[in-house]
């Protein structure tokens, strides 16, 4: 646009220029297919920032970043930019990245206390949302140290304490805050909430204590009842492998004697976990194992009342139907004889089925093993034939089932029962 000489050419020049478009494509145009992608790469038109800024792919963006994070800028400015960056990440809920930005900002040590307080408080918020309560609390505390009246830090600190279930500390944070901001609703709300939780936790502790005491009392009553009846519990090797049903193991409160007794005498090795208990009328109910060594079978009665007799149970167990393993069809209630084993003396003692469980348990040679009395059941015809027969008992030892001849002296013992 200078001399008139050019001007006289300009129209031609213009025409020439315009003509080009008819033949040549515009250089550096967006490609038809990927134009959206390319559009998005231009910083001004970006909808979202890329995760990583590769200078090759996004040269303009890398350039801008370099300007922002230029090390030559004063630290205060850098820190502020990092704060803004962190806030942007925070808004996107990208809390990890936000934490990184805030941390970088704090590292600048720009000396601006207000800025540092905000960085710490914001970082605390980011940690809070990630569930890192300890870190959040630490940051809030650091912020509070710099600026004791910073409301957001105070609120955040109180919230963290509640999340950590440290309610007394939370109330302290709130009270500190309320000193400076007496009418702040959030602080009042948090205080009331922390107070409520604290009192509920105290109640729960009291409730647990009462329950524990009750349980302990019941246990003591049970052991006393057993002892009063003169029933002997057998000391056995501690079953260390049963972690779950050895609640007696964790019973710190009980005296040594009781825990000893309960551990050794009552911890049930039965899969069912059944245990002797004392009912409201003061009767004991025992789990009882019935063994049928002739058929290698057993039955388990989970609650045999001490005052009931064996006949009643036998009637139920064998009365209506005979067990499937009784192939010979001989286990009729009236055909059965009951014994218990004295392991130490390797003797069987016969039980009159009409007697009660209690009488049997009180027998001077009866020892309750693992909290579960065992009763051996055999068919009567062994005796009727007068033959003796070796029977394997639960201890694995073999004992002679006494022959008819010696039955008489045996019965003398039975009289006691």
């Amino acid at each position: 646009m200078a001399s008139s000489a050019v001007q006289s050419d300009s129209d031609d020049g213009m025409d020439e220029f315009m003509d080009k478009f008819k033949t040549q494509r515009y250089k550096n145009a967006f490609s038809e297919d990927g134009w959206e992608e390319e559009f998005n790469k231009i910083p001004m038109f970006m909808k979202t920032a890329p995760e990583e800024i590769d200078p090759k792919k996004y040269p303009e963006l890398a350039c801008l970043q370099a300007i922002i994070h230029d090390e030559d800028r004063p630290p205060g400015e850098q820190a502020k930019s990092l704060k803004d960056e962190g806030n942007a990440f925070f808004k996107e809920k990208n809390y990890e990245k936000a934490i990184l930005s805030y941390t970088a900002g704090l590292k600048k040590k720009c000396g601006d206390q207000d800025l540092d307080t905000v960085l710490l408080t914001n970082r605390a918020a980011a940690h809070f949302h990630l569930g890192n309560m300890r870190s959040a609390l630490n940051d809030a505390a650091s912020a509070k140290k710099i600026k004791p009246d910073h409301l957001k830090a105070l609120i955040r600190g109180a919230q963290c304490c509640i999340a950590l279930r440290n309610f007394s500390e939370s109330i302290q944070w709130c009270d500190e805050g309320l000193k400076v901001h007496p009418t702040d609703k959030k602080l009042q709300e948090l205080r009331a909430s922390a107070d409520k939780h604290k009192r509920a936790a105290e109640r729960d502790a009291r409730k647990a204590k009462v329950k524990e005491k009750k349980l302990h009392g019941e246990k003591e009553a049970l052991l006393a009842a057993i002892k009063d009846r003169g029933i002997k519990l057998l000391q056995s090797v501690k079953p260390r492998r049963y972690g779950s049903d050895s609640e007696e193991d964790e019973d710190d409160g009980s005296s040594a004697a009781i825990s000893q007794l309960s551990l050794d005498g009552l911890s049930s090795q039965e899969v069912t976990g059944a245990q002797v208990f004392l009912d409201e009328q003061g009767s004991l109910h025992w789990p009882v194992l019935f063994l049928y060594p002739e058929h290698q079978q057993s039955d388990f009665i989970s609650a045999f009342c001490e005052s009931s007799c064996f006949v009643d149970h036998l009637a139920v167990m064998f009365g209506e139907e005979l067990p499937p393993w009784d192939t010979d069809r001989k286990y009729h209630p009236q055909n059965l004889q009951l014994f218990f084993e004295d392991e130490e003396k390797e003797t069987l003692y016969q039980i009159n089925p009409e007697t009660s469980l209690l009488k049997v348990l009180q027998h001077k040679r009866f020892f309750v093993k693992a909290g579960t009395p065992s009763i051996i059941v055999l068919k009567t015809w062994y005796f009727n034939l007068g033959t003796s027969c070796r029977v394997r008992t639960t201890s694995g030892k073999e004992a002679d089932v006494l022959s008819h001849a010696t039955r008489q002296c045996f019965f003398r013992k039975v009289q006691h029962i």
């Binding site: 309320l178 007496p182 009418t183 009042q188 409520k196 105290e202 109640r203 009291r206 409730k207």
Partner: protein, 385 residues
């Protein structure tokens, strides 16, 4: 009493420059005077002496300052001296300033003086006004609730002071400001074991606040939750059924076996009166019924031996288990009592009082107790001889 010349001489001894032993003697002399009513009345006519004494509270000798404070305590116990103290000697601003100082050695004495000054409405109003100007009631509550605020003083007498202040509606409104957290800070002190004075003061404050039934709903709500704090001192270790327990406020559930009830019968009576006040409105009655207050009262009634306290308990129980009053009379504080009914009620009250005191052995015991309480109260009011 002293002649004019003797008074003038005494006055001359009460200057900071005087020899310490002379100062000591002079203050001792006045202390003796202040120990009885005539002496106080005499001193009332000599405000200059009191002004001088007050100035001596900045004396370097601790013994002298102590004497001065004791004199002031004695004087403040007599209502006729209040005007002189407040208007002529102008004690309030200085006292309040010292009270706020965590290092001050005589804060307990200040509390006692202020407590005495606020007993009656007239001076109480003045104290409150100055308080609001100088420090603010919030500050007072803050100091009261901060454990170990002052290493040299227990500050228990701030309790009765707060209680006295709340006889004024403006103080009550401040205490029960919904936008702040003031009264809530006092609640845990209903069980403060270490000091009956502090505990009684707090409970007295709460009772006074409950005269304003407009605040009842807020007081009973979760924002304040006053009820458990009133019930805990009255609840005992007796085991309640699981059902009864679950209905109670959280703080009263599953109380341990060693739970003790409030020792002081006067305080127990105050607690019951406060609870009774809370039953004035229909909503309040409903809340107390819903929160299983009755079983607590039932067990309490069984345990209580003091006749007067039992009477207060029975009044409360009557409302808890009685029928709802008829329409129009639901707010017990607003019910208009016709004159003749009021007369009859007064007679009935008097008769009840008589009957209570008629029982011979109980009367003797009570008289003995009264004597003890009177001396205790005198000590409390700080009449130091």
């Amino acid at each position: 009493m002293l002649s004019d010349s003797e008074t003038a001489e005494l006055l001359s001894f009460l200057t900071p420059a005087t020899r310490p032993d002379v100062k000591g003697q002079a203050t001792e002399c006045i202390l003796g005077l202040s120990g009885h009513r005539d002496g106080c009345r005499f001193l009332r006519t000599k405000p200059d002496l009191i002004v001088a004494l007050f100035a001596l509270t900045s004396d370097p000798s601790v013994a002298i300052v102590k004497n001065c404070y004791h004199i002031l305590i004695n004087l403040s116990a007599d209502e006729t001296l209040h005007q002189v103290l407040v208007a002529d000697v102008k004690v309030l601003p200085v006292l309040l300033k010292n009270l706020l100082d965590p290092e001050y050695l005589f804060s307990d004495q200040i509390c006692t003086i202020l407590s005495n000054l606020t007993r009656h409405e007239k001076t109480c109003k003045t104290v409150f006004k100055v308080l609001q100007e100088e420090a603010g009631l919030a500050q007072l509550v803050e100091i009261f609730c901060t454990e170990g605020y002052n290493k040299n003083a227990k500050l228990h007498y701030l309790g009765p002071l707060l209680s006295n202040l709340t006889q004024l509606p403006e103080a009550r409104n401040y205490m029960m400001d919904k936008d702040r957290c003031v009264i809530q800070r006092l609640l845990p002190f209903t069980q403060f074991q270490a000091s009956t004075v502090r505990r009684g003061g707090v409970i007295g404050t709460l009772r006074n606040c409950c005269f304003d039934y407009a605040h009842h709903e807020w007081l009973l709500s979760e924002a304040v939750d006053i009820l458990p704090f009133l019930l805990l001192p009255l609840a005992g270790p007796e085991e309640l059924s699981d059902e009864e327990n679950e209905g109670l406020p959280v703080d009263l559930q599953y109380l341990p076996e060693d739970k003790k009830r409030e020792d002081d019968p006067d305080i127990r009576k105050m607690l019951l009166e406060t609870l009774l006040l809370l039953t004035a409105t229909k909503a309040g009655r409903q809340t107390l019924k819903d929160k299983n207050v009755y079983p607590i009262m039932r067990e309490f009634h069984r345990w209580e031996k003091d006749v007067h306290v039992t009477a207060a308990c029975e009044k409360l129980v009557q409302v808890l288990i009685g029928d709802e009053p008829e329409q129009g009379m639901e707010n017990l504080m607003e019910v208009e009592i016709p004159e003749d009914v009021e007369e009859k009620l007064k007679e009935a009250d008097a008769k009840e009082q008589q009957e209570l005191e008629k029982e011979p052995e109980k009367r003797q015991e009570e008289e003995k107790e009264e004597e003890k309480r009177r001396t205790d109260r005198e000590q409390e009011s700080g009449l130091i001889k």
